[in-house]
């Protein structure tokens, strides 16, 4: 079991000491970072601090130093976003700060993605995300997408005002088994149910897991609509996506 002093990067030590209040969670994070190289800790720290130019440079340097792309992604970028998620969940940071961290993540992924694609490494899951028909609000959906990408998912973003047919076509085109729908308006929430019905009509409902969220959406409403899961925020969205992906994988074994 590692200790906080074992972390070489001082910023990470300070962040964990200040923002991770629950003991078991802090230990998990300490263990996570303690196993990584200093260069990876530096990338994680730059992600947490939202320094996108530094993440861009550090990621490029790591690749040039022959660190494996997967290691940079897991031990640097994703490990950094893990603490961002905790700070957001516990209201230490808010959306502007998360957007800055996500921008930093994107700067790093720009170096990693081409390498992973060329080497044929599969993402941990593929998710189709969109705001439902009639709704143009996307900040919540975009936060979910950033967190999902930060956790290693491949995400296809259908944007806003997405029709049931658009969701169906995207699932078929990309071979995804997870769909995420968002709505901010009470008037557009029922379109989640209509989209799920479209999957039933197309005989595709058993092939996909559906998660929903958005300010006015409740767990009861999600249940009524026939969704598989409801997420209250972007952090929950990632947890749910991981759980549903595992469930799908075990069902197909």
């Amino acid at each position: 079991m590692a200790e906080l002093v074992d972390l070489q990067n001082k910023f990470l030590r300070d962040e964990l000491g200040e923002y991770v209040e629950e003991e078991a969670e802090r230990q998990r994070m300490v263990d996570l970072y303690a196993e990584t190289k200093l260069s990876m800790q530096n990338i994680a720290a730059a992600i947490i601090d939202g320094r996108h130019h530094d993440v861009d440079r550090l990621t490029r340097e790591a690749i040039d130093d022959d660190v494996q792309a997967l290691e940079v992604m897991d031990d640097g970028l994703i490990a950094g976003m893990a603490l961002v998620g905790i700070k957001f969940r516990d209201n230490f940071i808010f959306v502007p700060e998360v957007l800055a961290c996500a921008r930093a993540m994107k700067a790093g992924m720009a170096h990693i993605e081409p390498i992973l694609s060329a080497s044929g490494i599969d993402p941990i899951g593929k998710v189709i995300m969109g705001t439902v028909k009639g709704d143009l609000h996307d900040i919540g959906k975009n936060l979910c997408i950033m967190m999902l990408r930060g956790a290693g998912f491949k995400v296809v973003d259908l944007g806003v005002d997405t029709s049931p047919d658009d969701f169906l076509e995207a699932v078929e085109e990309h071979g995804a088994n997870l769909v995420g729908m968002s709505a901010l308006l009470t008037t557009t929430m029922p379109n989640m149910g209509r989209t799920i019905e479209a999957f039933i009509d197309a005989d595709l409902r058993d092939d996909v897991k559906v998660m929903v969220g958005g300010a006015p959406v409740t767990p009861e409403f999600a249940d009524d609509m026939g969704a598989d899961a409801y997420g209250a925020d972007a952090v929950e969205c990632v947890e749910i996506a991981k759980r549903l992906t595992e469930e799908s994988a075990s069902a197909h074994q």
Binding site: V95, P96, G134, I139, L185, T188, A215, E220
Partner: protein, 343 residues
């Protein structure tokens, strides 16, 4: 007291004969649209239809105020934002993915801002309501704050990232956009508005309480001094962490969301500002029965909330029965209190 007197007294935290029911945002529903033949999108764009639909808040539902601005997009349309007007069963929305401004220098209030059809219809609706209801009912207008306009005109993500990267530039933008807030507010006062809702969505769902203090409190204080009617600040979501700052702005009232408990909110504002709220929309008014509405109304009254209202613009499919339960529950609570005092 007339409804108007009751609302204005409550906004000043003065004694009232009973707690008023108020609607600082919107009470429009599809049922009411059909009832008076004034439907979205026309009821968002034509003054006469706007007034006709707004009047139902008093004539059909029994609230003490009328509010003709059902959405939050009138000024944004007049500023040049691209719009999706939608139909009867959905809200109009700004196409925020196609923002009109990128830099402070881009910001300009068009010379036809107050004569644009989408601001003009609001002024016309207020004049009609004032003429029709005179001194009887409080007519509430709405002028959007600069933070909300920033979402519409710059796009939410770009605006929030700018606030993170360059707070100074963000302040310049807010300072330029506030002209729209003041111009439209003053025009509505001249048209006859008794009070103004000022939505400015610095919500706890997006930004910290520290943000409110840094970017908005001083500006909101300025609005309270410049606009010569009671102002009702509206911010959705969890806001209890910024209510102390809000209470120090000099605004008359704060319209608060059901994510904040009435009692804790009353304790934070500590008699420095009136509270308006906070019946839950999606779970209670939209999806449950009058009995559950009654429970929430009573919780607010027990806490001493000065004006009872839905937490935000109500879902368009909300039943009239649930909305009527708000004033009915208020009257019932007061009857019970009168009996218990008398006995």
């Amino acid at each position: 007291m007339t409804s108007r007197e009751r609302v204005l007294a409550a906004l000043s935290r003065e004694p009232v004969d009973r707690t008023p029911c108020c609607n600082p945002t919107s009470l429009a529903t599809v049922e009411l649209m059909d009832l008076v033949d004034a439907r979205f999108p026309d009821a968002n764009r034509k003054g006469e239809q706007m007034a006709r639909l707004a009047a139902t808040g008093y004539t059909e539902l029994g609230f003490d105020s009328v509010m003709p601005v059902f959405s939050i997009i009138q000024e944004s349309s007049a500023l040049g934002c691209l719009m999706q007007w939608e139909g009867k069963d959905n809200w109009p929305t700004v196409k925020m993915s196609q923002p009109i401004w990128r830099e402070p220098d881009d910001i300009s209030i068009p010379s036809n801002f107050l004569t644009h059809p989408d601001t003009q219809c609001v002024l016309e609706a207020i004049r009609i309501l004032k003429k029709e209801f005179g001194e009887e009912v409080a007519v509430i207008g709405k002028t959007m704050g600069p933070w909300s306009l920033g979402y519409h005109c710059f796009g939410v993500e770009r605006f929030l990232l700018m606030s993170h990267d360059d707070p100074g530039k963000t302040m310049v933008c807010l300072d330029k956009m506030k002209e729209s807030t003041i111009l439209f507010g003053q025009a509505q006062i001249e048209a006859g508005a008794d009070a103004l809702t000022l939505p400015d969505h610095a919500t706890g769902d997006l930004v910290s309480g520290e943000y409110y203090e840094r970017f908005l409190r001083e500006m909101h204080t300025e609005f309270a001094a410049m606009l010569a009617v009671p102002l009702i600040l509206h911010i959705c979501g969890r806001t209890v962490d910024r209510m102390d700052g809000i209470a120090r702005t000099g605004m008359a009232a704060f319209h608060f969301d059901s994510k904040n408990r009435p009692q804790e909110s009353m304790e934070v504002v500590d008699s420095r500002i009136a509270l308006v709220g906070n019946i839950n929309n999606p779970e209670t008014l939209f999806a449950r029965s009058p009995e559950e509405v009654r429970v929430e109304v009573r919780e607010n009254l027990d806490a001493g909330v000065q004006l009872i209202a839905p937490e935000c613009a109500i879902p368009l499919q909300t039943s009239i029965e649930n909305l009527k339960a708000i004033p009915e529950s208020v009257r019932e609570w007061h009857r019970e209190k009168a009996v218990s005092v008398g006995s």
